[in-house]
C-alpha cells in the first residue's frame, strides 16, 4: 500500500476551525444587526421612558389637545392632549411587556408539553396532540373579543390568553424537534452510554430546540404586537393603560384631523414586527447555514466548449475507436466556493462505443457522478463546465441551451439514477411519468404511448405491468422502482445510457437482477452505456472498458480484463487490494465453542 491513505490518519485540518456561535454568525448579517439594534433601542426607550420625557403619558392636558410638534411636545399631543412622545415611550412598555407575556405563556405551556409529548410519546403525546389540534382551530380574535368584553380589559390578561391559544404552535415545534432529534443515532448512542433522560434532554435535545424556539418566540412576539393593535383598533382595551394600540385607537378617531397621530404608533408597531420578522428570518438563515445557491435553479450551468484546435492536426486525447458514440475531451467541472472555484472534474476525456459498457469507477469525491451529470446537462446551476469537445454521434453537445439539449435528453441519451425511490415523482402514477416523455419525444397518441409503456414495463421484468402502471411510487418496492426507471430510460430507444450507481441502493440479490436487465437491454438495443460505480464487483460483472477516477482526475482507462489482471496505476492497485472478496476469513474462536451444533470447518 504505497498510496497515501485517503482516510488521512493525520490529515486532520491543521488548525481547529473556529466554532462560530449562532450569535456571531447573526452579527455578520447586516439585516439581523439592524433588526437587533432597532429592537434594542425600542427596549431601551421603554425602560428609559422616565429619563427621555418628563410628561406623564396618561395625564391629559385639555389645552394641548392635538397640539402640534414643538419644544414642549416633541411629537405633538393627541386628541385628548396627551404627549405623544411620552405615550410612545410608555406605550412601548405596555406593548412590549404584554407581548412578552404572550410569549412567556406560550412557551411555559408549549415547551414542557412538547418535551413530554416528543420524548416519551405514547398516551401523553396522543392527548397533547389532540388538545393542540383543538386549540389550533380556535379563532384567537373571537376568543380575545369575548375575554376582553366579558372578563378583563387588561392587555396583559388578553395577551396571556393569546399565549395560551398560540401555545400549540410552540408545542408542535418543540415536539417535532424533539421527535426528530430523538430519532437521531446520537441520542441512541447517548442512551446506550447510560445517560439519564434528564441529561439527554439537557445536553442533546434542548440545544437543538433552542434555536427554532428563538425564531418562534420572535414570531409570536410580532403576532402579539399585531393582535394588540388589532384589538385596540376594535376599541377594546383598558383605557388607563398606555399602549401603542391605545394610541392607534385615539389616532383613528382623529384620522381626518391629525393623521400624523396614526403615523407614530403605526411606525412603532411596524418597526417592531418587521424587525422581529427579519430577525427570525436571519436566525433561520444563520441556522440553516449559508445557502450555496443564489442563482437560479433552472438556468443552465455556464458551459463552454473551446473550438477543436485544428480538427485534424490536434492529437485526440483519446484514441479513436471504430464505433465511437460519444467522445469527451478534456472535461472540466468547477463549483464556486468562498472566493474562488473548486474543480471537481479536471481534464477528463473518454470515449463510449456503441454497444459497449464503459465503467466509471472511483471513491466518493472522485468526480465520477459529476462527469455523468455534465454529459446530460444536469449539473446544478452554480456549476461551471468546460470541455474541448463533447461529440455525440456527430453532434456537439457542449454549449447547447436547454431546449436544444432536450432534443437529446430522454430521447437519445438516457439516465438511470442511483436511488430508485427518490427518483420517481411521488405525486404522479408510475404510468403517467413514463407516458409524458414518450408522448413528447415520439409525438404519439396517449393510447399508443400507454401501450408502449406497458410493453416496456413487461420487458423490464414487471409481472403485472397494468397494476404497476396505475401505482404510485410509494406503492412499489425499490427493485421494482429501479426497473421502472430503467423502462423510463430506454423508453425512447436511446443510443447512450448513463447509469449512475444504478444498483448501489439495492440489495445484492436485486442488484444481480438489475445488472442482468441492463446487460440484456444494452445487448438487445446495441446501446452505449456509461456505468458509474464504486464497486469492482459490478465492474467485473458488466463493463467492457473501465475508467478509474480519483479526485476529479482520470487515473487510468483500460479494457476490463486488463485492468483487473494488470492494473497500471498505484491507485488502482490500492483499490483492488482493498476489496475484501479474497481476504482470508477469520477462523473460529478457539476455546469455548463447545456443545454447539455449528458446522465447523
Amino acid at each position: 500500500m504505497s498510496v497515501p491513505p485517503t482516510d488521512g490518519l493525520v490529515v486532520v485540518p491543521s488548525a481547529p476551525v473556529r466554532r462560530r456561535h449562532l450569535m456571531v454568525r447573526l452579527l455578520h448579517d447586516p439585516v439581523a444587526v439592524a433588526a437587533l439594534v432597532i429592537l434594542a433601542l425600542l427596549a431601551a426607550a421603554s425602560v428609559l421612558a422616565p429619563v427621555l420625557t418628563s410628561h406623564d403619558p396618561i395625564r391629559s392636558s385639555l389645552f394641548d389637545t392635538l397640539a402640534p410638534m414643538g419644544p414642549d411636545h416633541p411629537l405633538g399631543a393627541d386628541g385628548v392632549g396627551r404627549d405623544v412622545w411620552a405615550q410612545l415611550l410608555y406605550g412601548a412598555r405596555t406593548s412590549l411587556a404584554a407581548a412578552l407575556v404572550a410569549v412567556a405563556v406560550a412557551f411555559a405551556v408549549g415547551i414542557p408539553a412538547g418535551l413530554l409529548g416528543g420524548y416519551y410519546r405514547g398516551k401523553a403525546d396522543a392527548i397533547l396532540s389532540w388538545a393542540s389540534n383543538f386549540m389550533m382551530a380556535v379563532p384567537a380574535i373571537i376568543v380575545l373579543l369575548v375575554v376582553m368584553a366579558a372578563v378583563s380589559q387588561s392587555t396583559y390578561v388578553a395577551m396571556a390568553v393569546l399565549g395560551l391559544i398560540i401555545s400549540p404552535s410552540v408545542y408542535r415545534l418543540i415536539r417535532a424537534s424533539v421527535v426528530s432529534v430523538r430519532e437521531e443515532l446520537y441520542v441512541d448512542a447517548a442512551r446506550v452510554s447510560g445517560l439519564t433522560d434528564g441529561r439527554i434532554m439537557r445536553r442533546h435535545i434542548l440545544p437543538v430546540v433552542q434555536a427554532p424556539s428563538i425564531i418562534q418566540a420572535a414570531q409570536i412576539f410580532g403576532v402579539a404586537i399585531s393582535i394588540q393593535a388589532g384589538l385596540a383598533f376594535l376599541g377594546l382595551g383598558s383605557p388607563s393603560e398606555t399602549s401603542w394600540g391605545a394610541m392607534l385607537n385615539d389616532a383613528f378617531a382623529n384620522i381626518y384631523t391629525a393623521p400624523m397621530l396614526l403615523l407614530w404608533p403605526a411606525l412603532a408597531i411596524c418597526l417592531t414586527t418587521t424587525s422581529l420578522a427579519l430577525l427570525a428570518n436571519a436566525l433561520r438563515d444563520a441556522l440553516g447555514g449559508k445557502k450555496v445557491r443564489q442563482k437560479s435553479s433552472v438556468q443552465r450551468p455556464k458551459t463552454s466548449v473551446r473550438p477543436a484546435r485544428g480538427a485534424k492536426s490536434a492529437k485526440p486525447a483519446v484514441r479513436n475507436l471504430g464505433a465511437e458514440l460519444l467522445r469527451v475531451d478534456n472535461l472540466k467541472v468547477t463549483y464556486p466556493v468562498d472566493g474562488g472555484t473548486r474543480t471537481v472534474v479536471d481534464g477528463v476525456s473518454l470515449v463510449v462505443e456503441r454497444g459497449k459498457v464503459l465503467g466509471l469507477v472511483g471513491e466518493s469525491g472522485s468526480g465520477k457522478s459529476q462527469t455523468a451529470f455534465s454529459l446530460l446537462g444536469l449539473l446544478p446551476p452554480e456549476a461551471g463546465m468546460q470541455a474541448d469537445g463533447i461529440r455525440f454521434d456527430g453532434d456537439e453537445l457542449g454549449g447547447l441551451g436547454r431546449g436544444a439539449m432536450n432534443r437529446f435528453r430522454g430521447k437519445r441519451i438516457a439516465y438511470i439514477p442511483q436511488e430508485p425511490m427518490s427518483n420517481l415523482d411521488p405525486s404522479f402514477t408510475v404510468g403517467s411519468q413514463l407516458v409524458e416523455p414518450v408522448r413528447q419525444h415520439l409525438r404519439i397518441s396517449a393510447r399508443a404511448a400507454k401501450a408502449k409503456v406497458l410493453s416496456l414495463l413487461e420487458r423490464v421484468g414487471i409481472t403485472e405491468p397494468g397494476r404497476v402502471f396505475d401505482s404510485y411510487p410509494h406503492q412499489i418496492s425499490g427493485g421494482m422502482a429501479q426497473r421502472v426507471l430503467i423502462a423510463g430510460a430506454v423508453s425512447c430507444d436511446p443510443d447512450l445510457l448513463i447509469a449512475d450507481e444504478p444498483t448501489t441502493a439495492l440489495d445484492v440479490t436485486v442488484q444481480a437482477e438489475i445488472l442482468d436487465l441492463i446487460r440484456s437491454l444494452q445487448d438487445e438495443r446495441n446501446m452505449g452505456v456509461i456505468l458509474v460505480t464504486h464497486d469492482f464487483g459490478v465492474v467485473a460483472d458488466i463493463c467492457d472498458r473501465v475508467t478509474v477516477m480519483r479526485s476529479g482526475k482520470l487515473v487510468e482507462t483500460a479494457d476490463v480484463a486488463e485492468l483487473f489482471a494488470n492494473p497500471q496505476a498505484d491507485y488502482t492497485r490500492m483499490l483492488l487490494a482493498s476489496t475484501l472478496e479474497d481476504a482470508k476469513p477469520r477462523t473460529a474462536l478457539k476455546g469455548p465453542a463447545v456443545g454447539r451444533r455449528d458446522r465447523t470447518a
Binding site: S61, L62, V80, G81, R82, G235, S240, F252, A253, Y256
Partner: protein, 506 residues
C-alpha cells in the same frame, strides 16, 4: 400558466372597475323635484320593528318611512297635524281628544281608525323600548267613533303632544303589532324586505297610496347602518351615502370633500352630573356650596373650544334654548373661577378638597374625562377612576354606584327633561334624590298650561341652577353632513333631521 392567470386576473379587475360609477345609489344631481334615491347612514342599528321596543334618538329615522305619527313638528318645533287633524285637552289635562283623518289606510289595506290607534298605542305603551317609556302616562285609549280617539292619562303629561309627533305617536297596523314578518304602517314608504339586509341596509320604496306624497319627494330611501365613524366618513366622501350624523372632528375632512355641514342643537346637555345630591356616597355633595364650587371649577368655554372643537354652547342649565324653560340670564350664574370654587369648598369645610370615585370613561369620552379630571383636580377634588368595562357604564350609573360622573342627556322638551332628571323616580335620578321644592314646582307645571306653565318652567330652571343640581358644561351641538345632491333642514327636538326635511337639490 402564468399568462393564463394574469389574463384571468386582468379580466376580473376590468369587470369590477368598469362597473365604476354604477355603484352610485344616490339621487342624480340635476334631477327634478321628485324621484331618485335618498341614501342615509345611521350609526346604530335599529332594535326592532315592533314599536313597543323601538328606540329614539338616532333610531328615529328608521321608523319614519314606514310609520306615520299622529302629529308632526314643523321646522320651528311647533306641533302640527298629521294623522290627527285636531287635538284638545280637558281642563284637568288628563284627557286628550284626537280627531283622525279618515282617508288613511295601512299598507296591508286595513283602515287606520281610532280602534287601530288604540290597539297600537296600548301595545307600544306596554313595551320596554325607549319610545314606550314616553307613553307611560297613558292610562287608556278609547275609541268612541272611528275618527275620534280619546287618550286618558294617569296624570298630566306636558310632553305628550311632542312625543306624539315622534316615534311614540306612530301607529302600526293591528295585524302586525309585533312586526314579526316586517313592519306594517301607513307611512310614505314601505320596507322592501327582499332588497334589505337586516342590520346592514334597509330599502324603502314609495307607498303609492300615501295621503301626503308631496312631502316625500324621493322614490326610494335607503338606510345603511354604518357604526364605524371612519367607515361612515369614507362612505360620505366616496358619495355612497347622502347624509349622516357625524362627530365634530370629521368636519374639516368632509367639508374638504365637498359635503354640506349642518350644525344644530338637539337639547342634549353634557357635563358633570351630580347623582348624589343627598350625600349618601360622598357626603360633601350634600352641601350646596360644594356643588356650586364644582360649577365654578370648569372652564366650560375652553372645554367647548378644545374638547368639543367649538361645537357647543356653554350653559349652566338643563333646558334648551328652544324650550319654554330656558333663561339666558341663568348662563351667567357661574363662570370659570377656580379661586371661588376653592373658597366655596373651604367654606363648606373642604379646604383640603375631597376624594370622589368616578367610572373610567376614557374609551367612550376621552376628552371629557381628561377635562374633568384635570379641572376638578385643580380645585382639590381628587378623582379616582374606577375601571369598568364600558358595557357596564350605564348599568352602574343606573344602579347608583357613583356619586357623580360625566354624562350627557336631555331633550328640547322641558317636560321630557323633568321626566329624565328631576322626578324622584326619574331614570337619571339613580339615587332617588328628592327635593320637595322642585317636586312641587313639577307638579304645578303638569297642571298648568300656556304662559303660566312657561313661568313655572323658568322658576324650576332657576331653582335647579341655584341649587347646582348638576354642573353642566354645554349644550351639545350635533353635526349633520349631507351630499350636494340633497337639501337638508334640521329642526328642534330631533337628533337626526326627519326624512320629510330632505329634498333633492334643484
Amino acid at each position: 400558466m402564468i399568462k393564463k392567470l394574469a389574463v384571468a386576473g386582468t379580466a376580473v379587475l376590468a369587470l369590477t372597475l368598469s362597473a365604476c360609477g354604477g355603484g352610485d345609489t344616490g339621487g342624480t344631481p340635476g334631477e327634478g323635484a321628485t324621484g331618485g334615491t335618498l341614501t342615509l347612514s345611521i350609526s346604530q342599528d335599529m332594535k326592532s320593528w315592533d314599536l313597543a321596543e323601538a328606540g329614539l334618538g338616532h333610531s328615529e329615522q328608521y321608523y319614519q318611512p314606514v310609520f306615520d305619527p299622529l302629529l308632526r313638528l314643523d321646522q320651528q318645533g311647533e306641533v302640527k297635524e298629521n294623522l290627527a287633524t285636531s287635538w284638545t285637552y280637558d281642563p284637568a289635562l288628563t284627557t286628550l281628544t284626537l280627531k283622525l283623518r279618515t282617508d288613511v289606510k295601512f299598507s296591508d289595506g286595513s283602515a287606520l281608525d281610532s280602534t287601530a290607534v288604540k290597539t297600537s298605542l296600548l301595545h307600544a305603551k306596554a313595551g320596554t323600548g325607549e319610545s314606550a317609556a314616553k307613553l307611560k302616562s297613558i292610562d287608556d285609549v278609547q275609541a268612541p267613533d272611528p275618527s275620534t280617539a280619546v287618550v286618558k292619562l294617569t296624570a298630566p303629561d306636558p310632553g305628550l303632544l311632542r312625543n306624539f309627533a315622534n316615534v311614540p305617536g306612530m301607529i302600526a297596523s293591528s295585524t302586525a303589532l309585533t312586526a314579526a314578518s316586517g313592519p306594517v304602517g301607513s307611512g310614505p314608504y314601505k320596507l322592501d324586505a327582499s332588497a334589505s339586509t337586516a342590520g346592514t341596509e334597509y330599502v324603502f320604496v314609495g307607498n303609492p297610496d300615501y295621503w301626503n306624497k308631496k312631502d316625500f319627494p324621493f322614490d326610494t330611501i335607503v338606510m345603511k347602518t354604518l357604526d364605524d365613524p371612519t367607515a361612515e366618513t369614507n362612505a360620505l366622501l366616496a358619495g355612497q351615502v347622502d347624509g349622516a350624523s357625524i362627530t365634530p372632528d370629521r368636519i374639516p375632512a368632509l367639508e374638504g370633500g365637498g359635503l354640506d355641514i349642518t350644525k344644530f342643537y338637539s337639547g342634549i346637555v353634557e357635563g358633570l352630573y351630580i347623582w348624589d345630591r343627598a350625600g349618601k356616597i360622598t357626603p360633601a355633595l350634600a352641601d350646596v356650596r360644594v356643588r356650586q364650587a364644582l360649577n365654578y371649577a370648569f372652564d366650560t368655554k375652553a372645554i367647548v373650544k378644545v374638547a368639543k372643537k367649538g361645537l357647543g354652547e356653554t350653559t349652566t342649565q338643563h333646558f334648551a334654548p328652544d324650550s319654554e324653560a330656558f333663561s339666558a340670564d341663568l348662563d351667567k350664574k357661574y363662570g370659570y373661577d377656580p379661586a371661588k370654587a376653592k373658597a366655596l369648598l373651604a367654606e363648606a369645610g373642604y379646604a383640603g378638597g375631597f376624594d370622589v370615585v368616578m367610572p373610567d370613561i376614557s374609551t367612550l369620552f376621552p376628552e371629557a374625562q381628561a377635562a374633568m379630571v384635570e379641572q376638578l383636580g385643580a380645585v382639590g377634588v381628587r378623582v379616582q377612576l374606577d375601571k369598568i368595562p364600558f358595557s357596564q357604564f350605564m348599568p352602574s350609573l343606573l344602579q347608583g354606584k357613583y356619586a357623580l360622573s360625566y354624562f350627557k342627556t336631555g331633550s328640547t322638551d322641558p317636560w321630557n327633561v323633568i321626566q329624565l332628571l328631576v322626578k324622584e323616580k326619574a331614570t337619571w335620578n339613580p339615587l332617588g334624590y328628592k327635593d320637595d321644592h322642585a317636586l312641587d314646582l313639577v307638579n304645578r307645571i303638569s297642571l298648568a298650561t300656556g304662559e303660566e306653565q312657561d313661568k313655572l318652567y323658568k322658576e324650576l330652571n332657576e331653582y335647579m341652577v341655584d341649587q347646582a343640581w348638576d354642573a353642566p358644561w354645554n349644550f351639545v351641538q350635533d353635526v349633520y353632513a349631507s351630499s350636494k345632491r340633497v337639501q337638508v333642514t334640521t329642526q328642534p327636538y330631533s337628533m337626526l333631521p326627519p326624512i320629510y326635511n330632505f329634498k333633492p337639490a334643484s
